[in-house]
């Protein structure tokens, strides 16, 4: 019988690999650090003092979604008012993503790593429609798992000059 999954912190490899998987799915097929400055529809923003809160329309939909995890303004506003994040910097976007994962009661599944990915996908589909099985997914569950494995290896053995995503607190 497998041991119970332990809670973990945002800087654990399993969490970092999952966050990078989310960034890849939300900005498919990109996963570079530039995705922290993307907005819905493809345009970009540069000021990170607050969420950009700019409406973008594409594919018959309008949205203020922005950043690596495509958070709408209302999501950021709640986290800001609650003191979870002070701004919309890459580091704050990562923290906000981890907080939303917690709100969806999926932190344990994410901490559990590869054996718990299906549980994490299921719990987080209402938050991220790009996850396998969600309404706007482009990637199969198996492809997402393969990508996750790639990120696990990459983050466990970081290259000295490798570009990283957002800084972690």
């Amino acid at each position: 019988m497998a041991p119970p999954v332990q809670a973990c912190e945002i800087d654990s490899v399993n969490v970092q690999a999952f966050l990078k998987l989310l960034r890849w799915l939300e900005n498919y097929p990109r996963d570079d650090s530039g995705v922290y400055f993307q907005m819905f529809g493809g345009s970009t923003f540069s000021k990170t003092g607050t969420h950009p809160n700019i409406v973008n329309s594409k594919w018959g939909k309008s949205s203020t979604a922005a950043g690596a995890y495509m958070f709408v303004y209302g999501t950021w506003k709640e986290a800001f008012e609650k003191g979870i994040v002070p701004d919309f910097s890459p580091a704050s976007q990562d923290i906000l993503a981890w907080w939303k994962i917690g709100q969806r009661k999926a932190q344990i599944a994410v901490c559990g790593g590869r054996n718990n990915l299906d549980d994490a996908f299921k719990l987080l589909r209402p938050e991220w429609a790009s996850l396998p099985g969600a309404t706007q997914n482009q990637v199969s569950a198996q492809d997402a798992k393969n990508k996750y494995e790639t990120y696990l290896v990459e983050l466990s053995n970081p290259a000295p000059a490798a570009a990283s995503g957002g800084k972690q607190k």
Binding site: N53, S57, T64, K82
Partner: protein
Amino acid sequence: MRPQFIAIFVALTALVHAQTATAASTAKTGSAQLACGTANLTARTTFDPDAPPNDGFAWISQVLKLQPAPGMPEKLLSVDPAPGAFTGGAKALSDVVISWQCLHGSQHDYFLLDVTCARDDLGGICDGQQEWFRILDTSGHRPDAGYTPQDPRYETLYARLGINVNGVQMIDATGS
């Protein structure tokens, strides 16, 4: 009533009042207003960043009022009725107008309202959407009445009204 029952009743009443006071103590209220043509739209919004039962964030109430022109009476607006949903001991809105902007159409001015889904886990009208937009003219009429959140007819409606929402910088409507 026996004295010990009275004592218990008084103690329980005090406990309920204390809990209510504690729950209300973290709530904040903000006001915002937006002028558009001759009209003025105001919002008074209350939220609790540490709402029970799990210290979660909750939008508690929002009152939207429109004054179509100076000197005219204010209208109380109902944009996407947000039925209260009980979350633990607190009542929370399922959605709230989070930001807004004034748009100049080909014939008239319009308020663009960004509605955010606050509690998709408790039902309400979110319908799988995290946010959606509503249009209001300066007299309080809704050209998009009957449209669902992110309704595909919006594109045609925007064109007919002569407005373009793409790239619009929204303004916070919660006043906090």
